[in-house]
């Protein structure tokens, strides 16, 4: 068990936080993400549970996280990286984790992040005819949007 944790600790340019025995956070630079994911996959982290984004609007960054799991060691490794909010571009991980392909489609639609190497990104996925800013961004106000685009019912009477 300790062997793999030590190997993770030796990953190049990574900041390791061991939150608990079976959950390790690995923070890396944007350029190193793909390499780190590849090394982790070689170590036995075969399953990409979820890849998604946290909009850190105060820092002007998007935090992209990959939750990985190893059937062998029963450990979750969460790889995190940050990209600029103004020009968010990441490299695709779908060559390493095929399931990343769809997660990337989702984040590119919901956050407007450009994913290089994933040809499906940019095509409409969940939304249809979306014209506003990507909805999952923190500066998108859902309540405002709904009150502008839809009409709420105000029932006055007591008809029961």
């Amino acid at each position: 068990m300790m062997g793999v944790v030590d190997k993770i600790k030796e990953l190049d340019g990574a900041k390791i936080t061991i939150q608990r025995e079976n959950r390790i956070f690995v923070d890396v630079d944007k350029d190193r993400v793909i390499g780190t994911l590849y090394s982790l996959k070689l170590m036995g982290f075969h399953q990409l549970s979820v890849q998604n984004v946290v909009d850190r609007i105060k820092d002007g960054k998007f935090e992209i996280f990959y939750v990985l799991y190893s059937h062998e060691y029963k450990i979750n490794v969460i790889v995190r990286t940050w990209v600029d909010r103004d020009n968010p571009v990441i490299e695709t991980a779908d060559k390493i984790y095929p399931s990343a392909h769809t997660w990337e489609r989702e984040i590119s639609e919901m956050f407007g992040i450009k994913v290089e190497g994933n040809e499906d990104c940019g095509k409409p996925f969940i939304l249809e005819n979306w014209k506003d800013i990507p909805p999952m961004r923190k500066d998108f106000d859902s309540v405002k949007y709904s009150s502008e685009h839809f009409v709420f019912r105000h029932s006055e009477g007591e008809n029961e």
Binding site: R153, S155, E156
Partner: protein, 605 residues
């Protein structure tokens, strides 16, 4: 599981189902037959409109914004004058409701429930919102539970000194919240603001509690000072009517609003950074007669409005009853100095030891100043014309307390009798208990109270009674004083008392009656009378006094801005207040008068 068997498979196996041809189907033939609905079913709401207080917690917790608070008068009238309640009731939009029942969990009164009924169809889309009420005849289903609830029903325990420790000195007995306790207590607040109605000063309670929760004590005190210039003092001695209205009373302990106030002010060395901003000077001058809470409150607010204010105080210390009456163990001197000092730092001039009518003429004040605020309070003890009360060892409570608090009196006799059952009588009795402990170590000493009222109607607050009992005070409830008994040397031997038949007559008026045959003697050598106080208007010239109007209850009549029947003369504090006559009411009508005086000075009237 034996996988092999499944792998084999068979054509004939399905024939086993033939047996169901002869079985009764399990179909529920709704609507001919109905399946019983679970006891906890979460269906359409039920609300007991009389029990509901319209606090709006259901609206705040609703994840779907389905609840709005509306006036129910056109569907069913409610008592709009209900104490501690808003005259609105929840209206539920079933085009929103997700039937999560969080509103039921959060309802502080328990009036809101969910019913077992969730079958409702209508072709009219507007017919899905109504004010739920019991009259709709639905059977209750999901109700709240006091064991498992998102509300924090239990209050933080306040630490206080043990009775045998606190008796040894006049040290403050309530120790105050620690930072952690205060935040936990502040966290309990739901922010509904029902308590604001109970507070005479209508302080912004939810806001300042939120600020305490956020850890921003300065902001919290800033909110307090807007309506209450003596927050630290009120945090110690307030009658906390806000807590009586707190919505937690229905299911748990009310929030200790008063002690939270005390916590926040204690964290601040002074209020320099949080005082209300002063407006530019207007050049107008106002005289305030009486340096009690009402006078201080008016003076502070008038100063912030740009007027220059002078307070005339007859004693050597400003603060009125706060300075002279309330014992040290409840309100230490440093707290008075801090808050009165703050008012002085705003530019209020306080002339101590100046008695109106003797040192300064009232008429002169009227000529010299643009307006006068009368806040003289009830500073004279009321006697009950007891036979033998002219004896020097029969004293008035207000004098006794003053001597102990600001004149440094520490002597006491061994056996003391206190007449009265109010909070002042408790202050006296507990002060005596301390003095006896200091002088004699409580060896063969007694302190006994005599009150007309029995336990159930005793005017003193329960915490005071409990505190006094803990400190060894003996109570004689439902006994009325008859006469002072002297021994052969002319010293007091005791007090003869007779049993009370009733205190109030059938019209609920104060009219005590006694059993003349049931008498006993309470032994003691020193008697303190604590049966109430009165005002003294002897400083006002006769012809002016005649112009001053009084209410039927012998209080000074004032209009909604605190102005008396004499133009330019405003009044407030205990001489006006018809309710309990506590510090917070005095502070409140001091603020009210300040606004009135400001209007008067700007000629808006």
């Amino acid at each position: 599981m034996n996988i092999k068997e499944y792998e084999k498979g068979s054509f004939l196996k399905p024939l086993a189902s033939v047996k169901y041809l002869f079985k009764k189907p399990h179909t529920v033939r709704y609507p001919q037959e109905e399946k019983p609905v679970a006891d906890r079913y979460r269906g359409l709401h039920i609300n007991d409109l009389d029990k509901c207080i319209g606090c709006g917690n259901c609206r705040d917790i609703c994840p779907c914004a389905a609840i709005s608070m509306e006036d129910p008068s056109n569907v069913r009238p409610i008592d709009i004058n209900k104490k501690g309640a808003n005259p609105v009731r929840p209206k539920v939009d079933y085009g929103r409701c997700s039937f999560c029942a969080l509103c039921v969990e959060m309802c502080p009164t328990g009036s809101l429930k969910m019913s077992k009924d969730l079958i409702y169809t209508s072709p009219d889309a507007d017919a899905f919102a109504w004010i739920p009420r019991e009259e709709q005849g639905r059977e209750p289903g999901f109700v709240q539970d006091n064991e498992i609830t998102p509300l924090m029903l239990e209050a933080e325990e306040m630490e206080e000194l043990e009775p045998d420790v606190r008796k040894k000195s006049f040290e403050e007995m309530i120790l105050g919240f620690s930072e952690e306790q205060a935040r936990r207590e502040a966290m309990r607040c739901l922010g509904c603001g029902i308590c604001m109605q109970g507070c005479p000063a209508h302080m912004k309670i939810p806001e300042y509690i939120q600020a305490i929760f956020d850890g921003d004590n300065e902001k919290s005190v800033k909110y307090m000072l807007e309506d209450n210039v003596l927050p630290g003092i009120c945090g110690r001695i307030c009658t906390h009517r806000c807590q009586d209205d707190c919505v937690y009373q229905y299911r748990g302990d009310p929030i200790h609003i008063m002690w939270l106030k005390r916590f926040a002010t204690d964290q601040l060395e002074d209020y320099k950074s949080v005082n209300i901003e002063k407006m530019p000077s207007t050049g107008k001058r106002v005289a305030v007669i009486g340096g009690g809470p009402s006078g201080l409150s008016a003076a502070y607010h008038l100063t912030t409005m740009g007027h220059s204010v002078t307070i005339y105080e007859q004693r050597s210390r400003a603060g009125g009853a706060l300075a002279t009456g309330i014992p040290l163990y409840r309100l230490p001197i440093y707290e008075l100095d801090k808050e009165i000092g703050n008012i002085e730092s705003m530019g209020v001039e306080i002339k101590l030891n100046t008695k109106i009518g003797e040192d300064v003429k009232f008429e002169d004040l009227l000529n010299e100043y643009d307006a006068v605020y009368l806040a003289i309070g009830l500073s004279y003890g009321r006697s009950i014309n007891l036979k033998g009360e002219e004896h020097p060892n029969v004293v008035q409570a207000i004098d006794f307390l003053r001597q102990v608090k600001i004149e440094g009196r520490r002597d006491i006799t061994k056996h003391v009798i206190v007449i009265g059952g109010g909070n002042v009588a408790m202050d006296v009795a507990r002060t005596v208990a301390r003095l006896q402990e200091i002088n004699y170590g409580s060896k063969d000493t007694t302190v006994e109270t005599v009150s007309l009222e029995d336990w159930d109607i005793m005017p003193a607050s329960q915490e005071e009674i409990d505190g006094a009992l803990e400190e060894g005070v003996i109570f004689n409830p439902a006994w009325g004083p008859n006469q002072v008994i002297l021994d052969e040397n002319g010293n007091i031997k005791g007090l003869e008392v007779k049993k009370v038949k009733h205190v109030f007559d059938e019209n609920h008026r104060f009219n005590p009656a006694f059993y003349e045959d049931q008498k006993k003697i309470i032994y003691g050598d020193y008697i303190v009378e604590s049966v109430g106080q009165m005002y003294n208007f002897s400083f006002i010239p006769e012809e002016m006094l005649n112009k001053l109007e009084f209410t039927p209850r012998r209080k000074v009549w004032v209009d909604e801005y605190g102005e008396t029947s004499i133009p330019g003369v405003f009044a407030g504090g205990d001489i006006v207040e018809t309710s309990r006559g506590d510090a917070i009411s005095a502070i409140a009508n001091g603020h009210r008068a300040a606004i009135g005086i400001d209007r008067y000075l700007h000629g808006k009237k």
